[in-house]
Symmetry: C2
Subunit: 137 residues, 2 copies
């Protein structure tokens, strides 16, 4: 399909470090959600997310690395013994990455969703918009 | 799941006019893509989209109602005789709406995707991030 004319597409899709693939973004993202140590998560967030990153899904919202770290800790407490796993193949374009995940425990999958991540020009997570694809226990 | 603490969730999920449902957003959105008259599209965009709305999918990007109108016209020219149809059930939370679509012609479905729409506080389309779910002719 022909690309539409726009003077500001650069502002919409800033250059991203070529090493960053949708799969790498998804795996790093899920690693944060599966990291039980708050200090380690804080380090992961400091390295891979912007300080003012924003997160929103149907159940949780948080803004800023510290609030996001606390939010993830609260979610882990809610689903102790469960882990997030990548489902399907991540895709993306420009600064956007999309991937699906499942939340699994000893009893199997209890939920799943699809997250859309906006990366900044340095490839750090600036915004996450999550949706639920299935509802578990 | 317990809502995570955040001082700025209001900034992440501004109030939206209660009349606006994900389904209504999706149907209005697809109506713009299926409107062949550029002037009518311009009116639809002026009514339902912000002046500086941004659109990005793997094939097209545009910023501003005029560029988006031209982009849609170019896509329609590329797929003459085809129309966009809602697939599945739109969902959303806060200012975000997600829905899937197919592009169909006399020969059947030639493609499909999932779009995530960010609405402003007045319920107007401020940003669209599209992904392709299937590749057609």
């Amino acid at each position: 399909m022909q690309q539409a004319h726009t003077e500001t597409s650069a502002a919409i899709t800033p250059a991203i470090a070529p090493a960053i693939t949708p799969a790498a973004v998804a795996h790093a993202y899920l690693a944060v959600w599966n990291e039980a140590d708050s200090d380690k998560r804080r380090k992961q967030l400091a390295d891979g997310w912007t300080d003012d990153a924003r997160y929103a899904d149907p159940l949780m919202q948080a803004s800023g690395a510290e609030a996001i770290n606390a939010m993830i800790g609260a979610a882990q407490a809610q689903f102790a013994g469960h882990s997030f796993r990548l489902s399907g193949t991540p895709d993306g374009h420009g600064p956007f990455v999309r991937f699906s995940w499942t939340l699994e425990g000893a009893g199997g999958v209890v939920g799943g969703g699809t997250d859309v991540v906006l990366l900044d020009a340095d490839g750090r997570v600036a915004q996450v918009t999550g949706f639920l694809d299935s509802v578990g226990a």
